[in-house]
């Protein structure tokens, strides 16, 4: 039924070339990852090794130069103990920064958020990930004001999964804390169905960023870069829960300019890391 125009005489060579080109493109983009994980999770999926050495090996294998890593147990177990363990693990790792999990409650032994965050930042923490739904607290000022003020003052990255809060709350954060970089992640559900929420927000708030690992909208990268610029998009892989190639090829094969690709792959996150106030 089909004509012979579809028959490629050198199919093997063609796939070989596509693989080689893709791997070269990945290397050239020097990916910096906002969403790495380390430590044994309860549901490991198909990945068997979750220790730091394994993570560094995966980063080399998949052409991820560096990134922010979070402890896989932090959101379920004692976040403050797991944060400490993480910061110990990465102390000597030049390629890694720490992603903390905290609740609205002050960590034991601290009387201000500033003390806790300054100490963590000096130990390479750069991001805080909040789980308001799972951890049962509100992002409103009456509940989280002290924490959010301290993050805001330090320009520390605030990451949140979209299902853990709502777009109204994200809008409130963008409004109330204009210098706080906010990074919305699509875990465990993709953000593909939420364009109508985040497009109006991207238009208004330069401090709002979307992370890439589950931002899989057909032609979405091109559309968002065209409308709002590349500044809002930050590469994140969710490795080793997710295959980093999901987000990587969205960038390598994006129909956008090379400088926009570099911004998304590493430049935007580098700027956010550089912006954190180190005590």
């Amino acid at each position: 039924m089909m004509s012979e125009k579809y028959v490629s005489p050198d199919a093997q060579a063609r796939v070989e070339r596509l693989v080689a080109e893709y791997r070269e493109q990945k290397k050239a983009l020097r990916f910096l990852d906002s969403n790495l994980w380390v430590g044994r999770p309860m549901q490991p999926g198909f990945c068997l090794r979750w220790d730091l050495e394994a993570l560094l090996g995966y980063m080399d294998r998949y052409a991820i130069e560096g990134g922010i890593v979070t402890h896989s147990a932090a959101a379920m177990e004692d976040p403050y103990a797991t944060n400490e363990e993480l910061l110990d693990w990465i102390a000597d790792q030049e390629r890694l920064w720490g992603g903390l999990v905290v609740t609205s409650e002050l960590p034991p032994g601290y009387s201000t958020w500033g003390d806790y965050l300054d100490r963590a930042i000096s130990r390479k923490a750069r991001l805080v990930r909040l789980f308001p739904a799972s951890h049962r607290f509100s992002l409103e000022r009456w509940c989280s004001g002290a924490l959010l003020d301290a993050l805001h003052e330090r320009r520390m990255l605030l990451a949140v999964w979209h299902i853990e809060t709502g777009w109204n709350a994200i809008k409130m954060l963008c409004d109330t804390y204009p210098d706080l970089p906010i990074l919305v992640e699509g875990r465990p559900q993709k953000i593909v169905y939420h364009n109508r929420f985040f497009y109006p927000l991207l238009e208004r708030y330069p401090n709002l960023h979307l992370e890439l690992h589950n931002l899989n909208v057909y032609l979405g990268i091109e559309d968002m870069v065209g409308r709002f610029g590349a500044e809002h998009l930050v590469f994140g892989s969710c490795l080793p829960f997710n295959d980093p190639n999901t987000a990587q090829m969205m960038v390598t094969a994006a129909r956008i300019g090379d400088s926009a690709k570099r911004q998304i792959a590493h430049g935007n996150l580098q700027n956010l890391l550089d912006g954190v106030m180190v005590p």
């Binding site: 796939v15 990945k26 295959d243 999901t246």
Partner: protein, 256 residues
């Protein structure tokens, strides 16, 4: 040859789409080197305007010079009408398979009412593409088509090649899909959708063999690049990548 064996023409109000046009699909295919795309149910076919969907499929075939192909769509609540239409469609070279979805029709995969679809696939010697997934707290509708529920039909119609769309959808679903594929030679799986588990491609190849796995995107919702990158960079042989990216689809859908 590279074949996107699971995409959808059209658009849905539920899932915002940047550009649902056939021209945009073609431009994306050219950009990514995809030679052929198979629409496994355009939105009009699925959501209730089957004749409009028929037209769209023919238009896509025409505009693409035969590169965009389609599946006939069968809704068990309109069995007689849809069988009659599917016959008309399968006479046309733009149609290369049949698609069924349990959740959208609220009909369990092992229900009696799916017989006509399987009989059609048998009669016409075309693959039956089925939506498969696993149940989660936030998506209970997926209970209609976990991979294990297809066993009854897979057994009853050994001559029909069934492609489990999304390869079971989530971790437990992937395990059930691989188990079914290991047990029955007429079971295949496609990689479309948003199950991005680290190691999944390698695991499926190891469990079921690369000759059972097909590349697919789930466009107009999901971008093909999220799947293509995982196949290109997987720790599997070049031959396996070739099979997954196109040759299995060529064989199953008889594209040559």
């Amino acid at each position: 040859m590279i074949v996107d064996s699971h995409m959808h023409l059209g658009m849905s109000a539920v899932t915002p789409c940047v550009d649902p046009s056939i021209e945009a699909v073609l431009a994306q295919m050219d950009h990514l080197g995809i030679d052929v795309s198979i629409s496994v149910g355009g939105s009009s076919q699925i959501f209730g305007r089957p004749e409009a969907g028929f037209e769209t499929a023919l238009e896509a075939y025409r505009l693409s010079g035969g590169r965009i192909l389609s599946c006939a769509y069968f809704n068990p609540h309109y069995a007689e009408e849809d069988v009659e239409r599917a016959r008309r469609q399968l006479e046309h070279e733009a149609f290369v398979g049949i698609k069924i979805v349990g959740s959208l029709t609220e009909c369990y995969a092992d229900d009696e009412r799916w017989h006509p679809a399987w009989r059609l696939a048998s009669e016409w010697g075309v693959p039956l593409v089925v939506h498969s997934w696993w149940v989660s707290d936030y998506n209970p509708r997926q209970r209609y088509h976990t991979p294990d529920q297809f066993e009854r039909y897979v057994r009853a119609y050994p001559e029909v090649n069934m492609i489990l769309g999304h390869a079971g959808g989530r971790y437990e679903g992937h395990r059930a899909a691989a188990k079914l594929a290991r047990s029955y030679p007429n079971v295949y799986m496609d990689l479309s959708g948003d199950s991005y588990s680290f190691g999944l491609v390698e695991w499926l190849v190891e469990q079921a063999g690369a000759d059972r796995i097909l590349f697919g995107s789930d466009l107009f919702m999901i971008d093909a690049r999220t799947v293509m990158g995982r196949v290109l960079d997987a720790d599997i042989s070049l031959e396996a990548k070739r099979l997954i990216l196109g040759e299995n689809a060529v064989r199953l859908f008889r594209l040559m």
